[in-house]
């Protein structure tokens, strides 16, 4: 716990955007230890909260920070792309991503995360709220009671990542047909079209022999 608090303090030391700093301090005040980390990502505040504070953080943003507008809710799977035959697998056309699990802004505790963006139409600020989701039993509280527009976003996230939103009135398929199996946006869900026939377009951007990637200037 103590190192998390330190993370908050070090981040506060270099605040480029005063609005982001003020918003962050309001969240630190309201959520206390439940706010795990915050960061200024290109002028937008991103916070990571404990799963129990996922809904309270949104309620706080709506009632106290005037974030009346729901932009989106979605999920992310941080697991590196798995290929059937390892890295030298059939799907060589896709851009190669790092093979070790690394996390983005504000970090993550594990593979799955949900994140949502809410903003204020009157004060013109916004905040990205992230929370970790357990890998074996992915579930988190629903925002529908706070933002009714969360309905469809959570249905989409549920079918694409298999993350259950507790308290959602009817989690049923939104895009996919009813009997669809699997969660397409998970990284271990293969893009079959690419498995069958690699995309030819990547040939154009492959480095020429003897040319290093870095010095590819005009």
């Amino acid at each position: 716990m103590s190192d998390e608090v330190v993370a908050v303090e070090t981040a506060e030391a270099d605040i480029p955007d005063p609005v982001v700093g003020v918003l962050a301090s309001r969240f630190v005040e309201a959520l206390g230890d439940d706010l795990l980390e915050w960061e200024d990502s290109f002028g937008t505040l991103a916070i990571r909260v404990k799963p129990d504070s996922w809904a309270p953080a949104a309620a706080f943003a709506k009632s106290e920070l005037e974030c009346n507008y729901l932009s989106f809710i979605s999920g992310i799977d941080w697991q590196p792309v798995t290929r059937p035959d390892g890295d030298e697998g059939s799907d060589l056309s896709a851009p190669v991503q790092p093979t070790e699990m690394t996390f983005g802004v504000t970090g993550s505790a594990g593979r799955f995360q949900v994140f949502g963006h809410v903003q204020s139409t009157s004060r013109h600020w916004g905040v990205t709220i992230k929370s970790d989701v357990d890998e074996t039993d992915p579930r988190i509280a629903s925002w529908v009671a706070i933002y009714p527009g969360a309905d469809w976003h959570e249905r989409e996230c549920w079918e694409m990542y298999g993350i259950v939103f507790d308290g959602h009135p009817s989690l049923r398929n939104l895009y996919l047909p009813g009997g669809f199996e699997g969660h397409p946006l998970r990284k271990d869900f293969p893009l079959l079209a690419r498995e069958v026939k690699p995309w030819p377009g990547l040939v154009d951007v492959e480095p020429m022999p003897g040319v290093a990637d870095a010095d590819g200037g005009e």
Binding site: A46, N68, L70, S71, I76, P95, Q97, L191, V205, D213
Partner: protein
């Protein structure tokens, strides 16, 4: 033989004078249970601009529940972006909102540029702004005409298609594509404007302004149009915002919020003088009216840009192989249909690790179950029309 006979001579109709009134009263006093009817509108329906299926439960002609069924055009762009490089992705996102493809490209390119720390030169920014506003005009102009179609007026629809073509010609002249320009590059735009384009553009803007006046005369001032749209499909401002309804739909509910003015600065909007129009009513009529004013405002912006077009190169220096440093960025822009945003997660590769596409129509349409409740079936069509969504923008 004559076919007309006095009613009293028809069999079974021998009733005493004066008794008919009480019969009618008796019929009215009985509450007839008609049962609910489930009506399937779509997936192919003229008012849905694509394949949106709407399952409505009706009591007589009144909607008591509506459930939009989407996904007929789901193409899985969020998955596909993970398998493509950054320059390839602009081709995909052209197809999200296919009427204003150029405006779709801008936030994604902007996100990649922010992560890479490069900025397009001023002339490229001006050309981007010009083409974004032109695609806004082309998109909304079609709406201005089609809205007439929803209430039974055919002529404005033809005007909409006819005059939009002038704008599409301009977009084609500059980019080579009528609908899918794929003109943005990370660091600028593909080409400079062709010779003579600016003169053509001024002439087309004149036509658009004239057309707006025609719409105002024929539709806005029309009694039938007002009767069908005023007070129908009212979106309360706070509820609309909580649903994520954006763009002109939210401004028609009195929310003075336009990302061109209020968002993080992007393109050249901070150099332009423009007014953000709002309306207090929040009904179908207000949505039409706000879009009409916005089209004129866009024309004003285009003319300002033509007057002050910056000189110089249209591409910044960018590496031949585009590698985007690790990071996350959220970029949102005011598109013709509302707020469009990309949450791009990069891990330093030549393609993104995750792209969350936030499209305007998805949230605009998600309010339909609430909005359609209690409306009559013919009004469903006008409300769908006035929300103005593109199916590719819902289904992504």
């Amino acid at each position: 033989m004559t076919t007309t006979q006095p009613p009293s001579q028809l069999p079974g109709f021998e009733v005493e004078a004066g008794s008919l009134g009480s019969l009618a009263d008796a019929r009215l006093a009985v509450e007839l249970d008609t049962g609910d009817m489930i009506l399937n509108m779509g997936p192919q329906h003229p008012a849905t601009h694509g394949t949106l299926r709407l399952v409505v439960r009706l009591d007589g002609e009144r909607v008591i529940a509506a459930d939009p069924v989407i996904g007929y055009m789901h193409r899985g762009y969020e998955k596909l972006t993970e398998f493509r490089t950054y320059p390839q992705i602009t081709t995909l996102i052209n197809r999200i909102d296919w009427l204003s493809s150029f405006a779709n490209e801008v936030p994604f390119i902007h996100a990649a540029e922010q992560l890479m720390g490069i900025e397009a030169p001023p002339r490229a920014q001006h050309i981007r702004t010009l083409l974004t506003e032109l695609s806004r005009i082309a998109t909304i102009y079609l709406f201005l005409g089609e809205m007439g179609l929803q209430v039974g007026a055919l002529t404005p629809a033809f005007w909409g298609f006819r005059d939009r073509e002038h704008v599409l010609n301009l977009i084609e002249g500059a980019t080579g594509g009528r609908f899918h320009p794929n003109f943005n590059r990370i660091g600028g735009v593909k080409d400079d404007l062709p010779w003579g384009w600016i003169v053509e553009c001024r002439a087309a803007m004149k036509r658009i302004l004239d057309g707006c006046d025609d719409f105002e005369d024929v539709l806005v001032g029309n009694e039938i149009f007002q009767a069908r749209t005023r007070g129908v499909g009212i979106i309360p401002a706070e509820l609309g915002a909580a649903y994520g309804v954006s763009g002109a739909n939210l401004r028609a509910s009195g929310v003075d919020w336009d990302l061109r003015r209020d968002g993080k600065p992007y393109l050249s909007y901070n150099e332009l003088d423009f007014k953000v129009w709002t309306h207090q009513d929040g009904d179908s009529f207000a949505r039409y009216w706000v879009r009409l004013q916005e089209t004129r405002e866009s024309v004003r912006m285009v003319l300002q840009l033509l007057d002050g077009l910056a000189s110089g190169p249209v591409m910044a220096k960018v590496p031949r192989i585009i590698k985007v440093p690790a990071g996350e960025v959220w970029v949102e822009t005011e598109n013709p249909l509302g707020q469009m945003g990309y949450y791009v997660v990069s891990k330093g590769a030549i393609g993104p690790f995750r792209v969350k596409i936030r499209s305007a129509s998805f949230s605009n349409v998600s309010i339909l179950p609430w909005l359609l409740r209690g409306l009559y079936v013919p009004d469903v069509v006008t409300v769908l029309g006035s929300l103005y969504f593109i199916l590719g923008d819902i289904d992504r």
